[in-house]
Amino acid sequence: MSELASRTISTPAVVNRPLLQVWELSMRFGGLLAVDKVTFEVRPRQIFAVIGPNGAGKTTVFNCIGGFYRPTSGSVLLDGHSIQGQPSHRIARLGLVRTFQNVRLFKNMTVVENLLISQHTQLETGFLQGLFKTPKYRRAETKALERAAFWLEKVNLLPVANREAGNLAYGQQRRLEIARCMITQPKLLMLDEPAAGLNPQETRDLDRLINELRAEHNVAVLLIEHDMSLVMGISDQILVMEYGRPIATGVPEQIRTDPRVIKAYLGEE
């Protein structure tokens, strides 16, 4: 079943070309400069974290990259193609999907239906085929259900597949949101505070899941997170933001000891 869900990348060794390039991205809301010239790169299969105090502009960066806001200036390239200013649904189809800080599931639909909706873009059946339930249509639906089952198993939600998504426990909702993204076979997964509201055990599971996604499904992960132990343990690169400005970039060890970061988080003595 795994060939259903995993995207085959011929040579994972090719990691030199950046997957996502963000260059001097700025976003202004009226008089407020929410994001000020943020520049970074995410490479294939990299786990890249954006951290910073509340209100630093992290989610705004996500919204700009994902096409939910139109950035004031700067450029965003996915796989070498400019995506800034494009509508969010087109960006998602190019392989850049995200989760939300406040989980956004289709709450009145069942868990498995949530996963079917996100396969909408991979539809191979037409209107008339569905109307007459042709064998091809049935096959496509079965395949979609299989794919959903695969991902439900992966995030440990198979037993609750037919429940309403809104009735799941919070941690389960978070995992479902990630599965819903992964089923679109993205190149880059953006997670907006995935550990928020999770208990320590669930956070450890999340850590393992993210690593697994990278290892088995060749996805790069861009995440915003406040849980420092998670961020430091999992990330390849970290960008620290404060008041909309990037104040440091580097591997976890550098960030941990960077005086500007310490100052931003703990204040001046």
Partner: protein
Amino acid sequence: MKPMPRHLSEAALVALLAGLLTVPILGIQIQVEGINVSLEGEPWPVVLAMVAVFVARLLQVPLKAISSLVHITHRLSLPTHLPKAYFLGLLALAIIAAAIWPFTASRGSVDIATLALIYVMLGLGLNVVVGFAGLLDLGYVAFYAVGAYGYALLSMHFGLSFWECLPLCVIMAAMTGCLLGFPVLRLRGDYLAIVTLGFGEIIRLLLNNLDELTGGPDGIGNIPKPTLFGLEFARRPSIEGGTTFHEFFGLDYSGADTVIFLYLVALVMTLFILYVINRLIRMPVGRAWEALREDEIACRSLGLNPTTIKLSAFGFGASTAGFAGAFFAARQGFINPESFTFIESAIVLAIVVLGGMGSQIGVILAAIALTALPEMARQFAEYRMLIFGLVLVLMMIWRPQGLLPATRPRLELPVREEGSS
């Protein structure tokens, strides 16, 4: 604590207010004596209204208590998980009953039933737009008009038959829907409602004023009825050498045949729409409609294009209205813009709301109730709108989810259910 006097004074105040408001409406009667028109005071209706309001206000507290009881005890909804065979059997029985019924009923009631079926079709179509996709369309009657005028004009100018025109009308209405939908579907909620409301009026005004094309307020007459594989329902064939239904089968001519035939055509058309909608809501596009209604941003983040999905719902709703419209024109034989006023949109919307948004059985029952009841209770015709409004208000208090709230067809993954992990 003396609650009674407070209630009394409050009720008196409300009654006084009601009196003030009703004086200009009920308290003054126009008297016509020859050429003289005079206004005369008529105190009784006002007094009556004031007493009614006073009593209603006093009874508000006990009524509220009752209403909360009703809410709890009133949870009738169809059993959701009937075995499939059982359900299909019931459905087949209902269809057979509906098909046999006109042969036993009076001509008048069959005619009313046909009208009811038209509203069922309209209700089902609008239910997709409002109930499933969550787009409030107040100009739904425009597409109904497009279908009706489409058939009337095509048959008048090109001599096309009803069955040839039907798909064309559907396409025309769908295209009109997409044409309107494309610019306005980025609007949300109230704004969309206002624009569609305006659009409905524009279409009606166009029909009224494009005299050369639509005949203006005079409308179009002599619209041919549907035929049964080319057999006309008439005393004499309208074209030279044609055969009529009664001649072909060697029957005596009976006017009731036409009425029954029209009813059966409407029934088949309704069943067709029902089938299409039931497939659609289980198809990916139907799922996308619902998902979009629930969370548009989440949809966009997953690569679903909101505009095309909304457009498909809007276009589908419009095509259903066009479908019903073509039949309406054929049944009436005469159409003019008066049949396509805003009140029609409002009635169809009321059908959807009363039945329960997204609930197809509810919509069907509501459509039948709202068309059949006024016909049965002709003597109360003056109070029709009053009762209509009252019913809607009471519904909003007691059963805002509609008579038969929607139960979604859920797609189940065959797995064993356990406690949460």
